[in-house]
Symmetry: C3
């Protein structure tokens, strides 16, 4: 189940990378779009796995590359129609970062990492691919746009560690933490929340 | 034999990095030129080895650092004359990416990677150093310039996996795949081929 | 002793990252400042450890994350006063890169790396965090500003390898090498030294 969700998330992240590249003139050809899609979808997990000293999952399992290829293909064939579904894509992305945060955190804990480092690695799993995507298309990374984005991941990861400390069972904990990420992200956007602004003086 | 070719390739990539840095004002001093040369020549292999979980080869063998130093020295001493040989350098670079693609692919297969991931890792070995070089000197990476560059590496890597599947012997397979990379790259440049352009609408 | 110095260095590098981010409008919120502080302080050691194939130290020891958090907190609370101490911060930074160079070099040698690669890894430990910091706030990395910065680290690392080859005891060697880094950096700044400029023609 989690395996299929992970493949689905890989495909959604690939679509978000392909769409971002397509909007930029310099990445207009098929290679540029595919390469950006690839880096966006595997970036976060690969960075987490390199720090953990584990081989990234896509290296040993061809299905991840199929999922990315599918995402690129869908984008190329149905781009105009996809743009009409921007809200759905935004929703998938929000669910995706919640899910990736918790999965990344769990994997980090599994490999004996300090809980605080696990929180950071969970957040990195969720946001790092998008950071590279934004840097490649020369935009200020979304995580620095004063929206509540990475902060929602951090909060979800912290909740998971807290509940785990209190002995809450894994599945319920996972669901609660993912829902917290989604809830914060959606509410923040609706209410226009942003992080405290640091005064120059 | 392959060891010496690898050292020679390291030296050629270092020269290409040093020349690129020299053309930019901000990298004009000896350190900037050497650093760019170093990153250009070891970048692709190091990224591949980190993903494979292997220690990069230059870490344990001083000859690679000698090769890079030689490339930098040649560039500093004979820059004016080197520019007259731009066509030779282009030729070396083309042979180099063909060679690096197949070597990188073989190393990835040796470490038990999925064949499709091996194709991607072969391409990364060949192009990643140049991508960092272009990012450091603030140019749009060559791989996104709509020339057939990374695509030639991909095609060569795919041919190798295909022939290997058919049971073709390693050495002949290697030669055929390298020639395919070189052939596509040279023909594409001569005929002005480029990848299909994706329409905005 | 070295452990506490390392934590102190982590805190100082975090402050330098937080200050740099704060000066840029786009990183003005708490997350942007903290994230830049984090990457600045752990970047160099993490890159070294990934290349060595070792798990980075902050992953297993929560004190490093406390040190970074303390650096961020000090910066947020006392920023105006900190700016009056720019000279002290510069001094800490100079001591810090000397210290990090030698610690990084020793760790690399411990893991059986070629001495020349160890020199490069020592330099990377000291400067890489600052390079990422400068790239994140969109400035030309300090190491390319024609100041003697990375070169001082290289010289200190080379001295350490040379003295070690001559059989000089570890502690004295360490002190001498750190002092060389500090001495070169301070003298170069005072006398306005820079590296030889490479002529275009």
């Amino acid at each position: 189940m989690i395996y299929w969700l992970d493949l689905f998330g890989t495909c959604v992240f690939a679509m978000s990378g392909a769409l971002a590249a397509w909007d930029k003139k310099m990445y207009h050809d098929i290679f540029g779009v595919s390469f950006t899609a690839f880096v966006t979808s595997i970036g976060g997990g690969t960075m987490r796995d390199l720090i953990l000293g584990v081989r990234p999952v896509w290296v040993g399992d061809g299905n991840y590359i199929i999922a990315i290829g599918t995402g690129v293909l869908i984008t190329i064939l149905f781009r105009a129609r996809l743009l009409r579904f921007r809200r759905s894509i935004f929703f998938f992305d929000t669910v995706g970062i919640g899910f990736y945060t918790v999965i990344g955190l769990q994997k980090a804990l599994l490999y004996g990492v300090h809980p605080w480092a696990a929180v950071i690695l969970g957040m990195i799993s969720a946001i790092f691919g998008g950071v590279i995507r934004d840097m490649m298309v020369n935009e200020i990374p979304l995580i620095f746009s004063r929206q509540i984005y990475a902060t929602a991941c951090l909060a979800g990861a912290a909740l998971y560690i807290g509940l785990r400390h209190l002995g809450v069972d894994g599945d319920w904990n996972m669901i609660a933490s993912i829902l917290l990420v989604i809830g914060i992200r959606l509410t923040a956007l609706k209410k226009g929340w942003s992080l405290p602004y640091l005064q120059k003086h």
